[in-house]
Structures are given as structure tokens and as C-alpha cells.
């Protein structure tokens, strides 16, 4: 199954690059949905011998949330707050792409230098997870709009979930469900907050918000 695992992991990396390189918010959201699908299918490819009903259910919930519900919520926030769909990065798209690839190189080097005590099911899984995590953080700080920060948070979360897949064969069902519920509410709240920020300040530009500190 290494072929499938590699395919899904590369899809995740490509989604990262897509988020970093795209200049339109709807396109970034689509990239996120794509990454959610790849991540949701990953457990089946990683542990083909351990497919249980909870795993299938969890994957279904995870994919529905990450590929349908979150993109929908973000898109609605985008429409209702009438946000200009331009991304407006602090760091340009070209440099962002370089950062994306560099983060992968860094994570590959990191796990070469300091291998984990456990053996992950695929030697590419951990580097991809950490690189996704780093890309999420980078999107959080390198983009101006409040909406892109929600996006960065979700990419970051995808990284954490991928990392968890490598460490634990199965997290207890309740824990996974709890995490998913948390993210769901976080995105829900972010959507509402974005709408209110937009109504109160007529902009989503986080630079302008920094000036409100007084």
C-alpha cells in the first residue's frame, strides 16, 4: 500500500503548496477541502489490516467536516461578509512556495537527524505532518485577512492530525470525536467572528486591527 500512502501524502503536500501559491481565497478553500479528503483517506492506506467500523465512521465524519462543512462555512463567511477574495499576503506567493518546499526539506532533515522512538507506518508521514504544521503556522502569520487565519489554523490542525496518525494506530474514538467537535466549533465561531469584525470595522485586514489596541 506504500504507493497509495505516498499518493495521499503527496496530495497533502500539493494542497499545502496550493494554499501557499494561490492568490484567491475560494481557491485556497478548495485546496483545504482537497487536503481534508486526502487526510481522511490516509488511515485506510496506512493501516490496511485494521479497518474497523469506528475507523470508517470517523473517517466519514472527518471527511464530511473537512471537505464539505468547513469549506462551506468559510465560503459563507466570505460571501456574507463581502470579503474581497484577494489573499493579500505579507510574504509574496513565490517566496511562500519556497517556504513550503523548505519546510518539507527541513522536516525531512529533522526526522533523519532525530528519528522517532516509534517506527511510523511510512517514513514520509512524519515529515509531511510537520511540514503541514509549519505551513499552517506560516499562513497564520504571513497573510493579512482574518479569514486566511482561520484557513491557516485548519491547515495547522490537519498537520496535527496527520502526526497523530503516525504516533497512534488508533486514538480512542471519543478523543478523536472530541477534537473534531472542537475544530467544528472553532470554525463556526471564526465564521461568526469574521462576520462581526467585518460589520464593526468594515475590513478584515488584521493590520488595521493592530492599531485598535490603544
Amino acid at each position: 500500500m506504500t504507493g497509495t500512502v505516498d499518493f495521499l501524502l503527496v496530495s497533502m503536500i500539493l494542497a499545502n503548496l496550493w494554499v501557499l501559491g494561490s492568490s484567491r481565497l475560494p481557491s485556497c478553500i478548495r485546496a483545504l477541502a482537497f487536503q481534508g479528503v486526502a487526510l481522511g483517506l490516509l488511515p485506510f492506506a496506512l493501516y490496511p489490516g485494521h479497518i474497523t467500523w469506528d475507523l470508517v465512521m470517523l473517517a466519514l465524519i472527518s471527511i464530511t467536516l473537512k471537505a464539505v462543512v468547513f469549506p462551506h462555512l468559510l465560503k459563507r463567511a466570505l460571501l456574507e461578509a463581502r470579503v474581497d477574495p484577494q489573499v493579500e499576503p505579507f510574504v509574496g506567493h513565490g517566496v511562500s512556495l519556497v517556504v513550503g518546499v523548505a519546510s518539507l526539506a527541513l522536516s525531512v532533515a529533522l526526522f533523519r537527524r532525530h528519528p522517532l522512538p516509534i517506527v511510523p507506518p511510512s517514513d514520509l508521514l512524519m515529515p509531511v505532518a510537520v511540514s503541514t504544521l509549519l505551513v499552517g503556522l506560516f499562513v497564520l502569520i504571513a497573510r493579512r485577512k482574518a479569514l486566511t487565519q482561520a484557513l491557516g489554523y485548519l491547515v495547522f490542525e490537519n498537520g496535527i492530525q496527520a502526526f497523530g496518525l503516525g504516533v497512534l494506530k488508533h486514538a480512542p474514538l471519543m478523543v478523536e470525536l472530541g477534537i473534531l467537535l472542537d475544530i467544528f466549533f472553532a470554525v463556526f465561531v471564526m465564521g461568526i467572528t469574521i462576520f462581526h469584525i467585518r460589520r464593526a470595522f468594515a475590513t478584515l485586514d488584521t493590520l488595521e486591527m493592530a492599531e485598535l489596541r490603544g
Binding site: V10, I13, H93, G94, V101, L124
Partner: protein
């Protein structure tokens, strides 16, 4: 030998195929398939107009490009090992392509026109991004096949390789295709039919060429495209039929399929704004680098 002759003979036909595909999508009949041949024949018979500002460097440009590309064609395997092959010939091929760029830009600068200087600067800026992509893409294939010559890589390609490392090969294939688009000045990067100097890249550099020099430039750019498509065809198309003739036929067919794909891309996508072009070209490096990680992990 035959594959090289075929390349020399059929290269202008690629442009014809692309134009026909574009015309089909636009609902027109389009130019004749052999239009570029008639154009070349017409241009060769014409006189050259040389600006008084130009020096012999101006004529060296087209001559050097044509010479390098014909040499480059001798290094590219298609349906059989290439005419010339030796360890490291892929570096020579990339060097020749760089030489073509250098000669074209030098000839453009020699005219003293500010527009052509601008075109040259763009060409070099994009080339600087495309070259790492080419090196990385070929490096991936070197590591994957343990071959250091294009013809050896051609011999190594097989379905087994696609089974064991299909993802890597697919990434390299996409990277090479993106590079082909940018190197042969096709649409997302440059528009070969544009008439506005401000947006041209390749076309603006050859504005001052006329007659046989222009014919050399046009022929050289179709050869460049043939080399790119032949690389994709012979490094990635996995089937060996056993008979040399059939192999050659399949290789050439894939070359024309690549031209078809270029036509499809051109008909369905708009040209990128100049600021986004570096990103598009850089993507090929990113994809190749990703493939390299997959190979050497």
C-alpha cells in the same frame, strides 16, 4: 539517426498541430497544418533588413541558437538511443538550451531597442527560474534510474518503473510539461501570437530579425519544442515494443500527443499576468524537488 532526421523534418509540424487544436476549440478551421513550412520557405527567400545599430552579434544569435538546437537534437533519444550519447549528456543538453537563451538575448540587446532589452530581461528572469526545474527534474530521473545519460534513461523506462515509482515519474512528467510550456513560450507564460510589445517575451526579442534570420529563429523555436516533447516522450512513455520501427512510431506519436496537450492548455487557459509567471515556472522546481524527496528519502 532516423529519429534525428524525423525531428528536423517534423518539428515545424508541432506548431501546426497546436494551432489546429486551438482553432478547433475556437470553432474556426484554422491555418493549414503545414503553414510554418510555407512561412519558413517564404522567409528564406526574402532579403534581410539589418539595422545600422547592429553588429555581427545580431546574426550570431539565430545562427548559434540553430546550431545548438540541432546539436541538442542529436542528444535526445526517441524510439532508440540518440545519435550521440555519453555519461552526462543531459548536462550538455541543458547547457545547449542555456546557450540558445544567451544567444537570443544577446542578439536582442544588440539591436539597441529598449523593448528588446526588456524582452531579454524577462527571458533571463524566467530562464533563471526554469533552469533549476530542469536540473532537478533530470536529477530525479538520474537518482531513480541510476543512469547518467539520456539514452540510458530511455533504455531504463518500463512499466515496472511506473509501478514502483509512478508517483515520482508523474511529478517529473508534470514538471517537464510546465517547463516545456515556459521554454517554448506557450500560453500561460508567453503568447506566441501577441502583438503588444509590452506583454511579449520571446516575440519581442526577435522583432528586428527578418528574412533568413527570422526563419532560423522560428525553426529553432520549433526544434526547441520538439526537444522538450521528445524528452517527455522518451523518458516517461513506458512501453518497449521490441521493434525499432514501432518504438520510433510510438515515440513520435507521443510527441504529437504532447503537442495536442499544449494546444488543449492554450485553448482552455488564459495567459498569466507577468507577476504570476515566476510562480508558475517556480512550480516546476517545487514539483521536481518534491519528487526528489520521494526518491532519496
Amino acid at each position: 539517426m532516423i529519429s534525428m532526421l524525423l525531428g528536423l523534418l517534423l518539428a515545424p509540424l508541432l506548431t501546426g498541430v497546436i494551432n489546429r487544436v486551438k482553432a478547433f476549440f475556437a470553432g474556426r478551421r484554422g491555418r493549414p497544418l503545414f503553414q510554418l513550412y510555407w512561412d519558413l520557405a517564404r522567409l528564406v527567400r526574402k532579403h534581410m533588413v539589418l539595422s545600422r545599430t547592429t553588429t555581427p552579434v545580431f546574426l550570431l544569435g539565430p545562427a548559434l541558437s540553430l546550431a545548438s538546437l540541432v546539436t541538442g537534437l542529436a542528444l535526445v533519444p526517441l524510439g532508440g538511443p540518440a545519435l550521440l550519447f555519453f555519461p552526462g549528456d543531459l548536462l550538455v543538453l541543458l547547457g545547449l538550451l542555456a546557450l540558445v537563451r544567451f544567444a537570443t538575448v544577446l542578439a536582442a540587446m544588440d539591436t539597441g531597442s529598449s523593448f528588446e532589452g526588456m524582452g531579454g530581461s524577462r527571458e533571463v528572469a524566467i530562464g533563471a527560474l526554469a533552469e533549476p526545474g530542469m536540473f532537478l527534474a533530470l536529477a530525479v530521473l538520474v537518482v531513480q534510474t541510476r543512469a547518467v545519460s539520456l539514452s540510458e534513461m530511455w533504455a531504463h523506462r518500463s512499466l515496472d518503473l511506473w509501478n514502483s515509482a509512478g508517483l515520482v515519474l508523474a511529478l517529473v512528467g508534470v514538471a517537464l510539461f510546465l517547463l516545456l510550456l515556459s521554454e517554448s513560450c506557450r500560453i500561460p507564460v508567453d503568447d506566441p501570437n501577441t502583438h503588444l510589445e509590452l506583454t511579449m517575451i520571446h516575440e519581442v526579442m526577435v522583432l528586428d530579425h527578418s528574412g533568413p534570420a527570422l526563419a532560423a529563429v522560428e525553426y529553432a523555436s520549433s526544434l526547441k519544442m520538439w526537444i522538450g516533447a521528445a524528452l517527455i516522450s522518451s523518458l516517461l512513455f513506458p512501453f518497449h515494443t521490441g521493434s525499432a520501427g514501432l518504438d520510433l512510431l510510438a515515440g513520435v506519436a507521443v510527441v504529437f500527443l504532447v503537442a495536442l496537450a499544449v494546444g488543449l492548455v492554450e485553448s482552455t487557459s488564459a495567459r498569466l499576468s507577468m507577476l504570476r509567471v515566476p510562480q508558475f515556472v517556480g512550480l516546476s522546481s517545487a514539483l521536481s524537488l518534491l519528487a526528489l524527496f520521494l526518491v532519496i528519502r
